[in-house]
């Protein structure tokens, strides 16, 4: 297990290094230098020179790469050109919205998908299964912002249980913050839950056809016992893969939902930074997103090993 984790850790570090290279040099090789790109075509030569100086474009590339990376390692992401504030502060503020939102949505989608997938698989071909499959088909087909609008309509406008948008900040209290994240989390989670429950169902159906389930039944376990004791953990492996992918999506892909609910999240930050050509912010946020996706994959890899002893002993 230790060797396996160590190997995964090495591959994590290599991925991060490669990703930082790619991000840095893609921005470097973009036509024109970053400074003129950021200022646009009507820039004054003096402003341009000043920005170049500020961005350090006069220093050789490899030195700039090194100082960018070491800066990030010490928590210094540079200063946003548009907002004139340290990027690390901006990102930290947004992370406090985006990460809890992603985790919240993932929790909802998992908690929905597991029982739904199990019910569908154990009632294969019966009414319950058909109904669930139809509903998940709908959940996959309908975009999440539509769910968002419908939920705002029902729970904010009609029932007045939740506010229609905005985030009060964690200093107003845990409950209030969570409450304001609830509708966005649900609208993010519903399509994800639909996908996840389909994966859960088909994975479980595969496992229920395995020989060892027949062995379990021959031992005298009833259907429910053989499902819980032998099938579920075996069915989990493909499901974990999907959960990992979904977390990555939820971190970066929630721009529309953040827009609908006026949430100050990472997605919106990137969106604004791109439209304002604030490359320093773009670069940093993309790196943070890449880091979190790779971390999540690392955790997924570790959880494979926790589930499957064959991975632990294979070196």
């Amino acid at each position: 297990m230790l060797r396996y984790s160590f190997k995964r850790l090495i591959s994590l570090i290599i991925s991060l290094v490669i990703a930082s290279f790619v991000i840095f040099f893609v921005i470097e090789i973009a036509p024109g230098d970053p400074a003129s790109f950021m200022l646009g075509i009507n820039a004054q030569p003096e402003t341009l020179a000043a920005l170049k100086e500020e961005l350090g474009l006069n220093i050789p590339k490899h030195e700039r790469y090194v100082s960018w990376v070491t800066g990030m390692l010490t928590g210094d992401f540079g200063t946003s050109y548009t907002y004139r504030t340290p990027v690390n502060q901006m990102i930290a503020d947004r992370m406090w919205v985006s990460v809890p939102l992603a985790i919240y949505a993932l929790l909802i989608s998992t908690l929905l998908a597991f029982p739904v997938g199990i019910v569908a698989a154990t009632n294969r071909g019966k009414t319950g299964d058909v109904a669930i499959m139809g509903a998940t088909q709908l959940g996959i087909a309908v975009p999440n912002f539509w769910f968002a609008m419908i939920m705002v309509l029902i729970f904010s406008i009609n029932l007045r249980w939740f506010s229609a948008g905005g985030f009060p900040g964690w200093d107003t209290g845990f409950f209030l913050s969570i409450k304001s994240l609830t509708l966005p989390a649900f609208s993010l989670a519903l399509p994800q839950a639909a996908i996840l429950s389909r994966v859960m169902r088909s994975s479980l159906l595969d496992v229920l056809n395995e020989d060892y389930i027949r062995t379990a039944r021959a031992k005298g376990l009833n259907k429910r016992q053989s499902l819980w004791r032998h099938a579920l953990r075996n069915a989990l492996i493909p499901v974990l893969t999907i959960i990992g992918l979904q977390f990555a999506f939820l971190m970066a892909g929630s721009i529309i939902i953040e827009q609908v609910f006026f949430l100050p999240g990472l997605g919106r930050l990137v969106f604004q930074a791109i439209s304002q050509r604030d490359l320093i912010v773009v670069e940093s946020v993309v790196m943070i997103l890449v880091f979190s996706v790779i971390m999540v994959n690392f955790i997924v890899d570790l959880s494979y090993a926790a589930v499957d002893p064959r991975l632990r002993s294979r070196v």
Binding site: R3, D211, A218, K219, G220, N234
Partner: protein
């Protein structure tokens, strides 16, 4: 005393009649064999005793375990009987265990389910059961996972799970079919001993008449859902009346009429062939260890010669085959066909490779289900890059199909439309179409029913007469190798330990490993 009594069981699954009027009786301490070919209903008979039938089954008749009619019981009552009074062992030990749970956990589960024992008592019961199936916990600790065990060891774990609660009846469904002959004989001895020691009744389901002959007290022969003949083992082999039983018996003892090999020029020369695998490292900074799967193998195959290759799984048979076919890199040695070197990564190698064709064990899995037979068979021709007209191709296809005993219309069909035996004929046609010098049969008849197997063996002999085939026949079944080859090689741990005339070696083996193989193979009675 009668333990189990099936009274005229009829079973329909989704309206299709599967079992017709099955009656069967098992006494304490008695082994009753159910034999027959695939689809005869023998596994369904076992599953109806377990009451573990597939969805859509309708069953009538009665199944009495002592005084209880199993058919009238509720699901929860049945759960108390399964694994406790009736246990079952399945065919595939590799997949019969949950890969994510330790063997100790899985064996103990039966006890926890059926007996009120404390945790430490349970562990003790598990340990003593493991000793009983010759898996001493000192050597095989309870925390092992199934993937850390061999097939035979896994089957012992499955048996331990089945007998741990001292069941009255044990059902074994092809318990040794997936195992090597030596492991098979150990498992059969173990099962026989357990039946005597624990005074259980046992239903043994097998297609292998030789196993039946060595194991069973009574036999029921099944065909198309019916029991066609029954009796005690000692008499039935002598007095069999039903044509189906006779057919099964003759097919199992099938001898082909192989023409004498006459040509003597060397065709395939293999010298000092070695194949190494690099083992995964156990420490980070160490030199990787090497496992030599094929160890300096040398042999010569003459034109028109039929060579058998036998040995247990893991002995290097398959690796050697793949190396010959150019599918494995070799670390040492030379392979020559008609004096021409088969070089790796060389332009010339393809020309010589095409002179060797292969027929695999699984006739379904080795075909692309989305291609028509015409494409499946003619594919090797495209690799030749020879220009042939459509008419020529059609002619060639049809003659090849006819030569393997199929119809010319079959070329328009898909692979799922054929039976197992026909599929194997198609595989042979695919090998024959490029007129190869050598065909490699890799367990080519192992997955087939005895009657079909006999037909395919006849076909091979027929092709030997008409086409003067040269082949290497790889099989774990010594009786098949005996009839279909002139020479045989015995392989152990990557080395050829014995080589020579098949009949001579199988009657008078020189090496102790060959002796062990021959003794382990279950034998058929030799009267006619």
């Amino acid at each position: 005393m009668t333990l189990l009594k099936l009274n005229s069981i009829n079973l329909n699954i989704n309206g299709k009649s599967i079992l017709k009027d099955i009656s069967l009786e098992v006494r304490k301490g008695e082994i009753v064999a159910i034999t027959g070919e695939s689809g005869s209903g023998k596994s369904m008979t076992a599953l109806s005793v377990m009451q573990l039938l597939p969805i859509g089954s309708v069953q009538n008749g009665s199944i009495f375990l002592e005084d209880t009619n199993l058919i009238s019981l509720t699901e929860s009552e049945l759960c108390r009987i399964r694994g406790n009074e009736i246990s079952m062992i399945f065919q595939e030990p590799m997949t019969a265990l949950n890969p994510l749970k330790t063997i100790g956990n899985q064996i103990a589960e039966t006890v926890k389910l059926h007996k009120a024992a404390s945790h430490s008592d349970t562990i003790e019961i598990v340990k003593s059961t493991m000793r009983r199936v010759e898996m001493p916990p000192e050597k095989f600790p309870l925390y092992l996972y199934p993937h850390q065990l061999s097939g035979g060891q896994r089957q012992r774990v499955v048996i331990a799970m089945a007998i741990i609660s001292n069941p009255k009846l044990l059902i074994a469904d092809e318990p040794t079919t997936a195992l090597d002959v030596t492991t098979q004989s150990q498992i059969l001895t173990l099962l026989k001993g357990l039946v005597t020691d624990l005074d259980m009744g046992m239903i043994m389901i097998t297609h292998d008449l030789a196993v039946v002959h060595n194991m069973a007290d009574k036999i029921s022969v099944m065909n198309q859902g019916k029991i066609v003949e029954r009796g005690s083992t000692s008499t039935i082999f002598r007095t069999m009346k039903h044509p189906y039983t006779k057919m099964l018996f003759n097919a199992s003892n099938h001898k082909v009429d192989l023409p004498k090999a006459i040509n003597k020029e060397p065709l395939l020369e293999v010298s000092n062939l070695s194949r190494d695998y690099i083992l995964p490292k156990t420490k980070i900074f160490e030199r990787p260890k090497i496992f030599r799967a094929v160890d300096k193998v040398s042999f010569t195959l003459h034109k028109g010669e039929r060579l058998g290759l036998v040995g247990e799984s893991g002995c290097g048979k398959s690796t050697l085959t793949r190396a010959l076919l150019g599918l494995e890199e070799i670390q040492e040695g030379k392979i020559k066909i008609s004096g021409q070197l088969v070089l790796k990564n060389d332009v010339d190698s393809f020309a010589s490779k095409k002179r060797m064709q292969v027929v695999f064990q699984d006739p379904f899995g080795s075909f692309n289900p989305r291609h028509k037979v015409s494409r499946l068979i003619s594919e090797p021709l495209y690799l030749e890059k020879k220009n042939i007209t459509n008419d020529e191709l059609n002619n060639l296809l049809e003659t090849t199909l006819i030569s393997v005993g199929l119809n010319r219309d079959d070329k328009e069909k898909y692979i799922h439309e054929f039976s197992g035996g026909q599929r194997q004929r198609i595989a042979i046609a695919r090998a024959l179409i490029v007129k190869p010098d050598i065909i490699i049969f890799d367990e080519a008849v192992s997955a087939l029913d005895v009657s079909v197997r006999a037909q395919i063996l006849d076909l091979i002999a027929e092709l030997c007469r008409s086409l003067d085939l040269t082949y290497i026949f790889i099989s774990h079944d010594l009786s098949v190798v005996r009839t279909i080859t002139d020479k045989v090689m015995v392989m152990e741990n990557g080395k050829i330990i014995e080589y020579g005339n098949t009949e001579k070696i199988l009657t008078n083996p020189a090496h102790e490993y060959t002796v062990k193989l021959i003794e382990a193979a279950p034998s058929m009675p030799s009267f006619s």
